[in-house]
Amino acid sequence: MSQSNQTHASLKIGPLLRDHGGVVALIIILAFNILFTPNFLQLQTLFVNISQVATIAIVAMGMTLVIATGGIDLSVGAVMALAGALAPLIFQSQFGVDYPALGIAAAIVVPLLAAAACGLFNGLMVAVLNVQPIIATLILFISGRGIAQVLTNGNLQTFNNKSFSYLGTGQILGLPFQGWLALAIAVVLFLVITHTIFGRYVLAIGGNERAARLSGGPVAQVKIGVYMICAGLSGIAGLIVVAINSASDAARNGNLMELDAIAAAVVGGALLQGGRAPIFGAILGAVIIQLVKYTLLANGVEDEVALIAKAGIILAAVYVQQARKE
């Protein structure tokens, strides 16, 4: 966070890539699109990309917090599916039909509580039972989506609900609601990391857990906290996806999201061993991943190839990180 530019601002390419690789990559992608992608510089393009990137960005920010403590959360996609499956069940229930306003409120609050409960489970496994994070969150990675599918009998739930759909299709100042939401979350999390004791402990635990504990840091509570925040943000993302589609598909909602989120966090500058929480970096990472996908799609490259490109980005990001460690 506090990387003040004391190091002499030389214009060498190596250090530039190392410290601002994400920004450089973003500029290159934008330049490429402006030159080669038809109709790139249009409001419509911006709109589409923001509405799609918001969910990745929101989950990636939660993931960044977890990674900052030296953990990882594989269950984010499954938690999205679970939250997404619960919402239509609630506002389409008899209660939701009878009391539309209360129904919508409950359809947002209850799934988020369920998501937070998932986070509590992950956090307890990691912080109290000392299970490896990758194993601990694998449990919900597998079972979370299963529960979502059981809840919906494996059916696609379609709906027509203007109020709920606002989450994914609403606009503020001509731009998608979820984009503003992601931005608001980023500002809040940034302040949490830089200005609160919780944020300081997150970075301390990731930086040296034993030192943090011996200095009185409430290690278990903080770890549980980050898993709950990550799961809660995943829940929000799950609701947005359902709102965009006006349908909840427990089998597909959030599928492979854990990989996108980890990739975005890493591209954004998070270190997998912990100790750094670049919140806006996570957004940058999410934007890069989204733009690469969009660029390839808009230029007629097949979806499968986009996956390979994504792998290339992660490789590059990890390579730059290795160089930074020297």
């Binding site: 506090s2 919780f198 300081r200 040296n208 030192a211 504990r213 011996l214 200095s215 009185g216 100790g275």
Partner: protein, 505 residues
């Protein structure tokens, strides 16, 4: 008959820094040979040169009458040198049999492991050591002692002619040590040589034939244990004159001390495990109590117990008249600070700034409604940077970029900042340059003069003798004696260590 192993004039340097300058050792066949020395004397380096982990820069090694140029632990094993490390290199989740025969499994049809034969062979090997256990159970289900014996059994089954044991008893209790000693004697009778590295001097007299002493990368002596005393061994390790130590005596035991304030901290007959089995001490206001002892005597364990890191298995700690805290966070609230011995592993958070490292323990007091008061934080950090003379570009510089001495000052400031009543300082001046060392000592003295208490651990006897008002002497996890200043000299402290060794033997 020629010696089994002769290492002569071994030299080894790391990046130009000499670790071994003139190290020699000779081990006879069927001999139990002890190797002793202070931390950093070069014992481990010598063993690693022998087993092929390090390549020597100079000197000769004759093993079994042949010039030896071992280049890997695997080759050393094949040549008949087996090492039983402190951290056992076995596989706890696999069965005893698998651990013993690993890499040398009896085969059927050249491919399939013949388990019946493997179990039979393992049982036979273990029975030779008087160990009768179910070899099909996972190794990890047995005690450390049994695991250690299995490691030795494995070594011997591979026709080892020299078994190197590195601190074999450090995690064993008294009865397990007896079993281990029985095995060591069995090895000697079978003509196998043992190189026994230990800092528990009593053990050496019980089990070893000869002892080689190292100091500062050199071999300074090799004598039969029957012809020496503990005092001589300690004097050799520390490079002091034994006759002076003996003359110094321990007569001025009740020497007058500085006036003491109320009692701050009392440890009454506490234990946390085999490495801290019986510890008593009292700390008053305005007093530095030193913990004296050799490596492994239980000093760090005592500090960890006082700070609530390790749970007590016996006894009570009283802090300012109340029950002692059970967790570090509570200890800090109760006015305790603990500067740990291992700055890197338990002290600094390398990626964080000087500011963030300095206020880590103070955070709860700097926070209102979860929000850190950043203005007050900066002001406080600047105050300590100035007061302690911490050399840093500015408070936002990552702590890993500071020198060792300045890192240590930041950590000291971390604890001073909580304004504690008691500071527990474990090797506060280790690895810092002379200038910073004096400054740190002055800070500690100033803290005590303001009416607070310090528990000081230092491997440098000079620091302990000059700094502490009283010294509680530890040996093998027990507090044995107490010395009072004025009147403590280094020689007296050394003699207390030697003397208490005899008392407990």
């Amino acid at each position: 008959m020629s010696a089994l192993l002769e290492m002569t004039a071994i030299q080894k340097a790391f990046n130009g820094v000499s670790a071994l300058s003139d190290a020699s050792i000779a081990i006879e066949r069927g001999e139990v040979h002890a190797l002793i020395g202070q931390n950093g004397a070069g014992k481990s380096t010598l063993i690693k040169v022998l087993t092929g982990v390090y390549r020597r820069d100079g000197g000769t090694i004759l093993f079994n009458r042949a010039e030896s140029i071992l280049t890997s632990p695997r080759e050393a094993q094949a040549a008949g040198i087996a090492t039983i490390y402190q951290e056992l290199n076995l596989v706890p989740l696999r069965s005893v049999t698998e651990n013993v025969i690993l890499g040398y499994e009896p085969k059927r049809l050249g491919t399939f492991i013949n388990w019946r034969e493997a179990h039979r062979r393992t049982r036979e090997i273990l029975m030779r050591f008087g160990i009768d256990i179910d070899v099909k159970l996972p190794l990890g289900s047995y005690s450390t002692a049994i695991q250690q014996l299995v490691a030795i059994a494995r070594a011997v089954s591979l026709d080892a002619r020299l078994v190197i044991m590195d601190e074999p008893t450090s995690s064993l209790d008294a009865s397990e040590v007896k079993v281990l000693f029985g095995v060591v004697r069995g090895l000697r009778e079978a003509g196998v040589s043992v190189l026994y590295v230990s800092h528990f001097l009593d053990e050496l007299f019980e089990i070893c034939d000869r002892v080689t002493t190292m100091r500062d990368g050199k071999t300074v002596g090799c004598v039969r244990l029957a012809d020496t005393t503990k005092l001589d061994l300690i004097a050799g390790m520390l490079g002091r004159n034994p006759s002076e130590i003996a003359q110094a005596g321990m007569t001025e035991f009740g020497g007058g001390t500085a006036k003491q304030g109320e009692v701050l901290l009392t440890a009454d007959d506490i234990a946390t495990g085999p490495r801290l089995s019986k510890f008593d001490m009292k700390l008053h206001r305005g007093e530095i109590v030193g913990l004296g002892g050799l490596l492994g005597a239980g000093r760090t364990e005592a500090a960890r117990a006082l700070f609530g890191v390790d749970a007590l298995t016996r006894g009570t700690i009283t802090l300012k008249g109340e029950a002692a805290p059970k967790r570090p966070a509570d200890a800090i609230r109760a006015g305790l600070g603990f500067l740990t011995e291992d700055r890197k592993a338990e002290g600094i958070i390398p990626g964080m700034s000087v500011r963030e490292n300095l206020t880590l323990a103070l955070l709860p007091k700097l926070t209102r409604n979860g929000q850190i008061d950043r203005a007050r934080e900066r002001q406080l950090v600047q105050k300590y940077i100035d007061a302690l003379g911490i050399k840093t570009a500015d408070m936002e510089q990552p702590i890993r970029e500071l020198s060792g001495g300045n890192q240590q000052k930041v950590l000291l400031a971390r604890w001073l900042a909580i304004e504690p009543d008691i500071l527990i300082l474990d090797e506060p001046t280790r690895g810092v340059d002379v200038g910073a060392k004096r400054e740190i000592q002055a800070i500690i003295r100033d803290f005590v003069d303001r009416g607070f208490g310090v528990v000081l651990i230092s491997s440098e006897f000079e620091e302990l003798v000059e700094g502490a008002d009283r010294i509680v002497v530890l040996n093998q996890g027990r507090s044995i004696a107490e010395l009072k200043n004025p009147g403590i000299t280094e020689d007296k402290l050394v003699q207390a260590l030697a003397h208490t060794d005899e008392v407990t033997a």
